[in-house]
């Protein structure tokens, strides 16, 4: 008897709890319906993105979009090191939702855009997008994406306080840079902060140095795509790898375990003088350490002689529409929105831009941080080149690990260049590129 009574009570409690759960959504839709204007479309939109691709600027764009069109956006974030893998798997099973944020350039092909993404060639809003970016989201003649944010550049970020203290000047050649590092080491600071705990950061020096290879051989990327040359045919490439190997002497003792976040902290705290990374990481650093804005400066990776110096620019990721998107109209509306000045302004207001936008006629506004201003000087002076992966679809998958091997002195630059080429070959064959079989 007692047992039956308690069972009934529990059943009643559970039923009451469940009725409480069901009513959360209706309140949200009424809010969305209330803030409208003539552009109301309503409905939903799902966006799938890697964690590190989304920052305050992205959220600002999403908010502005939601308010403008009354669309409910659900943003799903994926953990960084598995993001590409997960996105490819979900594409294969048709589970991408409506919009997906993925690489542009060579890595876009790994998502098989012909099979998984919606072709948007000829859409009106593409007029606003810079041609260089459009090239990077075009596969087999079809255009697929719009930019997720500004471009970003790679180079050397340095601690201005240490430079003042040791009376150092921005180096014009690679030799001068190494001398500056020596001076820092002698004064008890780490010369170059290595963050190989995050293996992908090992590539940044090699990739940022591409400017010099591109200047000396502008058609190298094209010939490499066609399989006509190997990496060893470009002496500049070997020089880049030698720069990579030269760092070891100036690295911090725990460079193999330090992560990018550790490195940023060391740079801001003044334990190390230089860190080679991109403005994308710099922006995250400033979000965590606001004092970095005034403290950290930027210069391009110096060349061999002082005659020329330039930066390498990364194209932003693209927003692509899944082929089986349920909310197709809203998805196109989102892509269009990201090409407008309105969206760029919302982005720039929330998260100071990390580089120029890939939209025609959009300027950066007044919220530009000092290091970014130094980047813009290079861009406006036409001293920049896109990273190789945006000129050539061939990029091996083990580049990060091979760079770690070269940077830690495990293999020589000569062995490294062969290993990189072999690695590229596997990817090229998987993509079915002619000339590589």
């Amino acid at each position: 008897m007692k047992r039956r009574f308690y069972c009934a009570v529990m059943a009643g409690v559970m039923a009451a709890a469940m009725t409480g759960c069901g009513n959360t959504d209706s309140s949200k839709t009424t809010v969305a319906a209330g803030t409208e204007n003539a552009n109301v479309k309503g409905g939903e939109l799902s966006i799938l993105a890697p964690q590190n691709s989304v920052n305050d600027g992205t959220y600002a764009m999403v908010d502005a979009f939601e308010k403008k069109y009354g669309v409910k956006v659900s943003l799903e974030l994926l953990p960084d090191n598995e993001a590409e893998n997960l996105i490819r798997s979900r594409a294969a099973t048709g589970d991408l939702g409506d919009i997906v944020d993925f690489h542009s350039g060579s890595q876009l092909s790994t998502l098989s855009p012909g099979d998984n993404l919606m072709d948007i060639t000829g859409e009106g809003y593409l007029k606003n997008v810079d041609d260089t970016f459009l090239d990077c989201v075009t596969v087999d003649g079809k255009v697929y994406g719009t930019p997720v944010g500004p471009t970003y550049a790679g180079g050397v970020f340095y601690n201005k306080k240490i430079y003042e203290e040791l009376k150092l000047e921005v180096p014009k050649t690679w030799e001068e840079f190494l001398e500056n590092c020596s001076a820092c080491q002698n004064a008890g600071y780490t010369g170059i902060i290595g963050t190989y705990g995050d293996a992908w950061t090992s590539q940044l020096l090699l990739l940022s140095d591409f400017y010099y290879l591109n200047s000396s051989e502008p058609d190298f990327a094209e010939k490499y795509t066609a399989g006509e040359v190997t990496l060893e045919d470009a002496p500049e490439y070997l020089k880049s790898l030698e720069k990579l190997a030269a760092q070891k002497e100036y690295f911090n003792a725990d460079f193999l375990s330090s992560t990018n976040d550790d490195g940023c902290r060391m740079l801001v705290e003044g334990k190390g003088a230089h860190q080679i990374m991109r403005t994308r990481e710099y922006n995250s650093m400033v979000e965590s350490y606001p004092e970095a804005e005034e403290l950290i400066g930027f210069f391009a990776v110096p060349g061999e002689d002082g005659s020329d110096s330039g930066i390498t620019v990364w194209m932003p990721h693209g927003f692509y529409i899944a082929k089986n998107a349920k909310n197709l109209e809203n998805a196109k509306l989102w892509q269009e929105f990201t090409t407008t000045e309105e969206a760029a302004k919302a982005y720039a207001a929330a998260s100071s831009p990390m580089g120029p936008f890939m939209l025609k006629g959009v300027d950066l506004g007044n919220n530009v941080r000092p290091a970014i201003q130094e980047v813009m000087n290079y861009v406006e002076g036409r001293k920049s080149a896109p990273a190789m992966e945006f000129l050539c679809p061939v990029k091996g998958t083990n580049m990060a690990q091979i760079c770690v091997q070269i940077g830690s002195g495990e293999i020589s630059p000569e062995d490294g260049i062969k290993a990189l080429h072999e690695d590229n070959k596997k990817s090229a064959q998987q993509l079915g590129l002619e000339g590589w079989k």
Binding site: E82, E84, N85, R88, A92, T110, S112, D115, Y196, A199, A253, D254, L256, S257, T397, N398, Q401, I402, V404, Q405, S408, E410, A419, E422, K426, S427, Q429, Q430
Partner: protein
């Protein structure tokens, strides 16, 4: 209706073999078919939409590229290290824990706790302990005057460090198996030996050791197979790095899959299957033949 009814057991008369069919069907579909289809696909280069026959190319690549071959070498090394350490250390612990102390029950529980903690949690924990400058292990060593040891980034130490963590986790089960084996030894043997004047070491060598051979074989086989197939601990602690120095076959397979090189990854799986089979089966047969039944 079979004429040989007399020779059938009661179980066979009541349960027809056909009752096995549903389970067999599931087993065939989920295990057998994928195994054979992966043998097939390891000879191709495949994407999710089509495939291209390339014969032994995947296997040749696997054995020629140092970054892939090191996986094979490390796997065998890692399996041997974890197996050897577990078999020996667990035995010593089990002997300690069967002396009849009052605190035994508690100690056995404590030794068993690591087994139930998630491997990923253990891996992350030890990874932070082993950090060269911030980790507590090196900070403790600093106090003792010994300099920093690069547990997870020194080429020679990295694999050993992960193996030690694996052993730490696996001792619980191994010790338990040994304890059960030791407790199963008939007391009369040891008493008879004591009366005859055998010392502790002699008793161990001539009575305990032979009689726990079944337990030892279990521990050996389980540790060996587990060690050869380890993935999560290595992935969380080093990710196969730095570079490729701590790559095992399993991490190599995973990396190739994550990079979209599906054919290469399948070939790696076939190689792993063959390695485990070629090592585990002979060891198993050798050991069970030597098992003496009293």
């Amino acid at each position: 209706m079979k004429r040989k009814g007399k020779h059938k057991s009661i179980a066979q008369k009541i349960y027809s073999r056909k009752l096995m069919l549903p389970a067999a069907a599931i087993y065939v579909v989920i295990f057998v078919i994928p195994t054979f289809s992966s043998f097939f696909f390891s000879f191709t280069r495949w994407t999710l939409k089509d495939w291209e026959w390339i014969g032994l190319d995947n296997f040749i690549t696997f054995f020629q590229e140092p970054s892939l071959l090191i996986g094979l070498k490390n796997t065998i090394l890692y399996g041997a290290m974890t197996c050897g350490l577990k078999v020996v250390i667990a035995l010593l612990l089990a002997i300690l824990l069967t002396r009849g102390w009052k605190i035994e029950g508690y100690l056995r529980t404590v030794i068993f706790i690591p087994t139930i903690i998630s491997t990923i949690a253990i891996g992350l924990m030890f990874k932070s302990f082993m950090h060269p400058t911030n980790g507590i292990i090196n900070q403790a060593l600093d106090q003792l005057g010994i300099g920093s040891v690069f547990w997870l980034t020194d080429k020679r130490l990295a694999l050993l460090s992960v193996a030690l963590v694996d052993v730490w986790k696996g001792l619980g089960v191994a010790t338990l198996i040994y304890v059960a084996g030791i407790k199963g030894i008939d007391r009369t043997y040891t008493e008879a030996a004591e009366i005859d004047g055998a010392s502790g070491v002699q008793r161990f060598r001539y009575i305990t050791l032979p009689l726990i051979r079944p337990a030892m074989n279990s521990v050996l086989i389980l540790s060996l197979i587990g060690g050869l197939r380890n993935f999560d601990l290595i992935w969380v602690m080093t990710g196969g790095g730095p570079g490729f120095t701590t790559d095992l076959l399993t991490t190599v397979i995973y990396k190739q899959y994550a990079n979209g090189l599906y054919g290469l990854s399948t070939a790696g799986n076939v190689i792993l299957f063959l390695v485990v089979a070629l090592i585990a089966f002979p060891v198993y047969y050798y050991l069970t033949k030597k098992e003496e039944v009293y």
